[in-house]
């Protein structure tokens, strides 16, 4: 079976699902961020697959470049926030950061 559009899409789907699982099950904010990176990569694989096989042409690659740039900005801001959370709460467990809860 020759490699086609569906092979890329399935790999993207597995990456997406693993990212969702990492986001939901981890008890460490950094690991949750790794899940977000997996999800962004899955989205990029879809863009590239449709750019190659789906007739979207090079516009799909342009969208993927914008996704990569936004991922870089997101990682920087999120890690700055995580460092502040660690400074204030001495913990990176997302369920322990609940100061606003009464």
């Amino acid at each position: 079976m020759t490699v086609g559009l569906n092979h890329f899409l399935v790999i993207g789907a597995v990456l997406f699902v693993l990212g969702i699982y990492a986001m939901l099950s981890r008890r460490n904010v950094i690991a949750v961020l790794m899940g977000v990176e997996l999800i962004l990569n899955a989205a990029n694989i879809n863009f590239i697959a449709f750019s190659r096989y789906g007739g979207v042409n090079i516009n799909g690659q342009m969208a993927a470049i914008f996704v990569i740039v936004i991922a870089a900005g997101e990682a920087a801001v999120a890690l700055a926030i995580v460092l502040n959370i660690y400074k204030n709460f001495k913990s990176v467990n997302p369920s322990e950061v609940d100061s606003l809860r009464d």
Binding site: I20, S25, R27, E37, Y53, G55, A76
Partner: protein, 222 residues
């Protein structure tokens, strides 16, 4: 040959992602993310996106992964048991993830790649749902607008319609560069402002407040 290399890169990607999602030790998770990013870059090369593969290696492996590893080292007490991630309830996210995978696969394989279409003489024929669902690399069918920027670019670099993106060409980098300065000029400028603001904001958020002694020293110097 193409298929074998594709499966190798796909296996590297998925093995790295599985380790990232399931590893007990967060350092292992961070380093297996390296293999995931490398495998994804290989998949980009398989799909004729060479510039994007290089960008992926530079930005993800050189930037984001280093940031994540710094985050791991700065937020875990070295020598404590805390470096392990105690995973919480496993079956709720597992069921959610598997359900989502089932929905995605149903969408992929349930969507017909071909559909029948009536031709002018009343006969029905099978055509591809996608514009070019065959394995041919995409050719230079990019839509070009006819504004002044494109005219200038044409004078400088030659007509963009003549750029052939088939095998043996110089890759996608030149075409992407031209698109950045013509069709995608506004998003390009907006996203450059966005990343400037986000990086400045990240340094502002992450910097530590100076202590009163440091403030006194700074005032005495100035």
């Amino acid at each position: 040959m193409f298929d074998i290399i594709f499966y190798i890169f796909g296996a590297i990607t998925l093995a790295g992602a599985c380790t990232t999602a399931f590893a007990k030790n967060i350092v292992y998770a961070a380093f297996s993310l390296l293999f995931t990013f490398f495998g994804v870059a290989g998949l980009y090369v398989m799909a004729n996106a060479d510039f994007l593969a290089v960008t992926q290696l530079l930005v993800y492996v050189g930037g984001i992964l280093i940031l994540l590893i710094f985050g791991v080292m700065l937020t875990s007490r070295i020598g404590a048991v805390d470096i392990k991630i105690n995973t919480g309830t496993r079956w709720v996210p597992g069921v959610l993830a598997l359900g989502m995978f089932a929905i995605l696969c149903a969408a992929f394989f349930g969507t017909a790649a071909t559909h029948t279409e009536k031709t002018a003489d009343g006969k029905s024929k099978t055509v591809s749902s996608w514009a070019s669902h065959d394995t041919k690399p995409w050719s230079s069918t990019t839509q070009w607008n006819k504004d002044a920027t494109t005219e200038i670019l044409k004078k400088k670099f030659g007509s963009p319609d003549e750029v052939k993106m088939n095998e043996g060409s110089s890759g996608t980098a030149s075409e992407i560069g031209k698109l950045f300065l013509s069709d995608f000029l506004l998003p390009f400028e907006v996203i450059s402002v966005l990343i400037l603001v986000s990086l400045l904001g990240a340094t502002m958020i992450a910097r530590t407040e100076p202590t009163p002694e440091e403030n006194a020293i700074a005032e005495s110097v100035s």
